[in-house]
Symmetry: D2
Subunit: 323 residues, 4 copies
């Protein structure tokens, strides 16, 4: 009861994750805890932007539940410009250079801030998780997202595009990438890389994955590989060993350039934890230049999982009004 | 005369480059101009450190020429610790974890500051050259040195080892590197890579390089390749095309991660200018993720050549006493 | 008139090329000259085999034109078993282990012999072209076909599958191939490789190819690249340089293993002649082991172009009845 | 006694292996059994050829022990010309184009035949071991030697240089090879590759190899890696997994080209047997084109170990006099 009356007067701070398949709005408290959520399906990339923004509005209003909204932080799966005003390009969303921030601020009558989802995940880890000081935050989902943290702040870069680690070339003339180049890191270390590795083995080696996907490689998804690996399936373990090894090699490249205090790995694949991170740590120690003359940074699993975007969005939102 | 009397009273600020073959001390003015220099041979890596420090002292005193020394900035070809106190490891110098900064400050009775040579080159470019704001500075000499510039400051990292770009792996199972790994970037894009590429062709293809080195590949050195390329020699041009292409691919990787405003390329190989930088720019535009959604950073030749270390050392020294 | 009456009594020897898009039947004389042809579209890979065999029969009867058929040699684009009885698998034809040879022999009332198209091309070159003694025959079409010639005979191997050069791995973790592996040679040196290389550059570099394909990379086909290269277009020339270089590297691998007297390159891409073969020869000389202790084999353009299959089929057919 | 009198009258057939460090002469019976041997150190590559030939003569006479010599077969570690008359080049022997065969035949007053050591190993396997019909024989020693067997005969090639499998390029821009190229197969799959792999890990990972070599990587030799792998050492097992995987990939390339009935692996490294051959078989099945449409050839360990050269030399010698 006390709570209900408090709710009517206390303004809420929201984070909203605008992903390729789902929109998730959440009320997040000052400790980074998610108090309430509302979700909608993402209308698709070829629809009018009005449809997407209507879905966002529904989710936001549902979570606010009649309370005043102090600020909203949007975490978008796409390129956000330097000023945090526009979504320049997003492979799975209809926004193309739209001034999203100001338009939604006007519509919702509140402060809105905007950044891409990987940077928001970094904000969540900086404020409430594992990424203090100088850090690299790497998000292993379908592909690789990332953020550079310097002095406790996210370095966004000249175009707001810093942290696009997934498209660093690691294999000359290697696997083709949707970006138009070949041999990008995320082709070797990501959720897609994990399932592709496992799918290529179906029908060639004895593996429990075959049964899981009914012998149809296309039906194989990441969590099946994780489950099989935990049951000791050799092919699934090789898939994690390969993806983890490439993860460590890429981290070694980034550490050679940045020399951070810590590396934080999040995203869906990181749920596999030691299956993924142990081979990554081994590869980092092997591949890092001058490993015997330095402190090799720890590779930690991110504190936040699927809610990283909304928590980080809320961190940004709260900072915008508190300063 | 006026000058002489002024000199007797005005304290000087010096930069000292402690390289693998040569020690160079210089008086540098506030505009980054070198006013006077003194050089000594580097005594070698297996000698006592006293020999090296004596050579440094001679060069410093010769340049000071009786005037008071306001501050000295040392640019060392090796790993310098986070605090700028010690040279932790230097492949061609005898220092191994020595507290060089304070020992020389006491010996010379003045303020001494210390950083590695690539960071000093970055300081020279920030203060007087091409590297403003957020920049990457890449030094192509025997290998690759580098520095990360964020907000006009050199980012040194947790161990003082940020900017070791040369040891990012670009070819899996590739050419072996002295660092113990395989496929490091500097094996494909550096002065050594340039001469190796050219040497491998001697005796296999018609090239004016053969005459230049008397048919003995080991006698082939970088400047010969530059000269031959300027004369249109096909093998020399291929060597620059290959090294320049790899330069651009590596820059694209770094730009994907940092998104800087500008990339500055210095070091001995950069004297070849367009021969090197044009293929690098083409490769950067080809390989950079999202090139059509962003401003591709310009790749500029560094303002400073062999004097980059002393100028940058002096910049650091002056900052230490002025603040 | 004399000819007409002669035709009525003289039995003809036919070659039939059963390709993925077209069936071509031809009367071929003892000198390897094509006297008459008839073509049909290939019905497709998912149709009943009866449809394909009906098309073959039509073409055969049209060429025979009422004359008795002494023998038919079939050149099939697929795997033919060791005994030359069956087409085991063909990616673009409906046959799957069918006893094609005997079934058609019965249907046509004549001797039928069967081999894959690359082996037939080799038979054409052995009998009437460039491949005497010990030779490698390489057919660059969409992919790479090949044949090993030892002592003037085609070496067919344990499964009839010798000569599958296109699927030798040349790039670890490289471009994916329809065969399920990565980095196969034909992904880097073939008609497909040529157009892919050129397509990747459309929109990134100034090239006359852009106009040719109306700016739509998918419309770009091989002959456009050949035309543009002959007009000096830089991107088209690079495409040939890349495909030709990879051709030479792969040939060097095969020559290291076989040490043949001659290498013969045919197939559609070989029409580009020096554009393709000059860089291949340079790469062969560079990459071949012990090149200074041996005679590097000449790389010759095949005598036969699109008619290689029917000529080779007829060679096989004639040999079957003459012995 | 009976034996002694028999020996005095029966002419013997000898095989002589002329290796880089040792000369081994042996009496071999018609079943391929070694009855007696004599060894000498190889005098070196920079000595006069007379010294080498004197050592050969000593070893031959010691084994003959006064009996008449019916024929001698020489197995030389080098390039032997097409006619089997000359050693054209041998990295560790002084012969450079010498007419070895006829000179030694005159000196010893008997029939002499000559081939390279890998071909002789193939002759041993054909006559008494595992290589019947169409086969590939691969000898994994310091590097990779090989032989192509077609119809039960060794295919020697235009220059007598067929079977140089070790210098097929498998990694573009890969590890440098003494042959002057990069990325040769033997850099990834051979005795040298095994020890290099293991040496690179010393000091980086916990391994019993460290103790075996006293922490000095250069002291690590192949048999230590085999012993450690048998004791379950993780680094040694990885070394065999890597070398074995590359062995299988290279075999898949050769099988795609030749389609042999069997692949026979000999040489010093093959003593590790399943440690080496099991990963090779797995990689062959994975990497071979059309594996589901064909019989994948078995990969068998060679019957003959260090005596393969002398046994094969004797096979050649006996054939020369018997026909």
């Amino acid at each position: 009861m006390g709570r209900a009356s408090a709710r009517a007067t206390e303004p809420v701070v929201l984070g909203v994750d605008v992903g390729g398949t789902k929109v998730l709005a959440a009320e997040v408290d000052t400790a980074g805890r998610v108090l309430a959520t509302a979700a909608r399906s993402t209308p698709g990339r070829r629809v009018e932007v009005g449809l997407l923004e209507a879905a966002l509005t529904e989710a936001v209003l549902e979570v606010a539940d009649g309370r005043p909204i102090a600020a909203v932080g949007l975490a978008a799966a796409g390129f956000v410009d330097r000023e945090g005003e526009r979504v320049m390009f997003a492979p799975h969303l209809p926004w193309r250079g739209e001034a999203v921030r100001d338009r939604l601020a006007e519509r919702w009558g509140t402060t809105v801030v905007l950044d891409n989802d990987a940077n928001c995940a970094a904000h969540a880890e900086i404020a409430h998780g594992e990424a203090g000081g100088d850090a690299l935050v790497i998000t292993l989902g379908t592909g690789i997202g990332g953020a550079v943290v310097i002095g406790g702040r996210v370095h966004r870069g000249r175009n707001g595009m810093a942290g696009e680690f997934g498209h660093m070339q690691v294999v000359p003339d290697g696997l083709p990438c949707e970006c138009g180049n070949r041999g990008c890191w995320e082709q070797y270390s990501s959720g897609n890389a994990l399932t592709r590795f496992a799918r290529e083995r179906i029908g060639h080696e004895r593996t429990s994955l075959e049964r899981m996907c009914g012998g149809i490689p296309e039906r194989l998804v990441g969590p099946m590989v994780t489950d099989a690996a935990r049951d000791g399936d050799a092919v699934a373990l090789q898939a994690f060993a390969s993806v983890g090894d490439w993860l460590g090699v890429g981290i070694a490249n980034l550490v050679a350039a940045f020399d951070p205090e810590v590396v934080v790995v999040g995203g869906g694949v990181s749920a596999a934890d030691a299956l993924l991170l142990d081979p990554a740590r081994a590869a980092l120690t092997r591949a890092l230049v001058g490993a015997s003359h330095r402190r090799v940074p720890p590779v930690r699993r991110a504190r936040f999982g699927p809610e990283a975007g909304v928590v980080g969005g809320a961190v940004l939102a709260r900072r915008a009004i508190v300063g």
